[in-house]
């Protein structure tokens, strides 16, 4: 039993690591293509048919590029920072149930690495730890643009973590559990049972905060070229930069999974679509949404970002929680 458990866990970890690394790479291809189409361009076309091998080419380039460390940097921290980003992004996935249970040769597999009863908080917490990657990178680089990027990281992540937490609080109150599997099971009754109908405001807030936490366009201030060169990543090159990149895309997938599980019915069967496919469709919708928004919207100023967080989103989230509480108490 114990050995089987260990083997199963290791296999799951490897699958998640490999799959999501690959998916992150693929997502970059998708992003470039979709952005290009939305801007009446073609995107990568040369490597492979329709540029599909561009991912591979990028990978080769990143791996073979010189790993450059500036003289003024604090070496160990500088080196470890990208690993933190990537690692936390993957650790956060440990508590996410990706698919419904399935059996292979009479052995039931639960596609979740660790089912803990504080799963949701764990995911959010570990994603919060992800802020150390950019933060330490910026502080260790010995470069003022990096430092500015790090400062922006700190304020943006810290502030929007509050909104994420508060917006998720209302669904948590309704479901009465922090385990994501419970969330999924709560919405098993079909589209009508989805929490998004009960908590539309929480859903929107969660999405906005998700954009901010994954450092996506309207809120991509950490590495905004016109202002801080490339932010915390200014001094990075090669695979270390690639790790930041993978971490970011993995975080996008995490947010996609979270949003699907909490608000959009998770991996329950949707009409004729089996659950596994349904959740993949939802996650890819969210990925597409991230890209779509990047193509459509300009980004905001840092002070607007803070203002939006503390004076608009957080009060709305608090009011939402209070109203939810009142409704639950009296009805």
């Amino acid at each position: 039993m114990e050995t089987a458990f260990i083997i199963e866990t290791i296999v799951k970890i490897l699958v998640v690591l490999g799959l999501f690394s690959a998916l992150a790479g693929f997502a970059t291809y998708v992003e470039r293509k979709v952005l290009a189409f939305m801007q009446r361009r073609l995107g990568p076309m040369h490597v492979g048919p329709y540029g599909i091998l561009q991912v591979l080419a990028d990978g080769i380039k990143l791996f073979t590029k010189e790993d450059f460390i500036p003289q003024g940097a604090v070496r160990p921290i500088f080196m470890i920072a990208p690993v933190i980003t990537a690692a936390t992004a993957f650790i956060a996935m440990a508590a996410i149930p990706m698919f419904p249970e399935f059996t292979i040769g009479g052995y039931t597999v639960r596609p979740i690495i660790s089912d803990m009863n504080v799963g949701l908080l764990f995911v959010l917490g570990v994603m919060g730890i992800g802020l150390y990657g950019p933060l330490l990178a910026g502080m260790a680089s010995g470069n003022k643009w990096s430092l500015l990027g790090a400062a922006r990281t700190a304020i943006q992540f810290l502030s929007y973590e509050v909104v994420t937490g508060l917006s998720v609080l209302a669904p948590v109150m309704i479901v009465g559990s922090l385990s994501l599997i419970d969330f999924n099971n709560y919405q098993a009754g079909g589209v009508g049972e989805w929490l998004v109908w009960k908590q539309p405001i929480a859903f929107i807030l969660f999405l906005i905060a998700g954009f901010a936490e994954t450092n996506r366009t309207p809120f991509d201030l950490l590495e905004h070229e016109a202002e801080v060169i490339s932010g915390y990543a200014t001094e990075y090159s090669g695979m270390r930069w690639g790790l930041f990149f993978i971490g970011e895309y993995a975080n996008m997938f995490t947010i996609g999974f979270l949003a699907s599980l909490i608000f959009l019915g998770g991996f329950n069967d949707l009409w004729f679509i089996p659950g596994a496919i349904a959740i993949l469709l939802k996650v890819f919708f969210f990925i597409f949404l991230f890209i779509w928004a990047r193509a459509s919207w300009p980004h905001v100023r840092p002070d607007q970002l803070m203002w939006l967080c503390w004076k608009v989103l957080m009060p709305i989230a608090v009011v939402n929680v209070v109203i939810t509480g009142i409704v639950m108490m009296f009805f």
């Binding site: 604090v74 502080m139 260790a140 700190a154």
Partner: protein, 184 residues
């Protein structure tokens, strides 16, 4: 088996991290290793079936408190080595070593009687989070509210302290500056 391995592994990691924090010349090393140590400590909480405490440790301590430290450190040059004239090592290590020794002695001798009764026994039926919630909002409601007010006060204090005018306080002024102000 797992527990033993995990305990010793994390104990070693934590101790190493904290020793780095305490001994390091570089503030950035100290901060990073401290943050790492905090996360490793949350592992103990998970081992001790205090899931919620562990998650809170990660979110609050590592996520917020240490990030605040990092943010404060951005005001200083963290890549430089911290220069300080440390007190003589012998005194420091003698004092701390003695205290460590005494503490271990005290804790190893079973002076804690076995008759301690659980006031709020943990039940297996409900999860840790729920149990914590129940105790927190019944027996510890008043301390909880007081803690909330304390946090609010701290928040307001932090905001006021960080506001622009505060570094011009008259009480902190050096005499020269005061005279200068008077002359204007």
């Amino acid at each position: 088996m797992f527990e033993v391995v995990a305990f010793y592994l994390f104990a070693a990691l934590t101790i190493v991290m904290f020793v780095i924090t305490v001994m390091s010349k570089n503030a950035l090393y100290a901060m990073s290793s401290l943050a790492a140590g905090m996360i490793f400590i949350s592992a103990f909480f998970f081992l001790l079936d205090a899931d919620f405490l562990g998650v809170v440790q990660i979110i609050v301590y590592s996520g917020a408190v240490m990030a605040l430290y990092a943010f404060a450190m951005m005001f200083m040059d963290t890549t430089k080595e911290v220069k300080e004239n440390n007190p003589p090592k012998r005194i420091v290590f003698f004092l701390s070593g003695m205290i460590a020794l005494l503490l271990v002695l005290i804790l190893l001798t079973p002076i804690i009687s076995d008759k301690v009764k659980a006031l709020y026994p943990m039940s297996d039926e409900i999860g840790n989070t729920e149990a914590v919630g129940i105790v927190l909002f019944t027996k510890y409601l008043v301390p909880f509210e007081v803690a909330a007010i304390m946090l609010l006060v701290a928040m307001i204090a932090g905001i006021i302290l960080a506001s622009k005018r505060m570094d011009e306080s008259i009480t902190l002024k050096i005499d020269q500056e005061i005279e200068q102000k008077g002359a204007e």
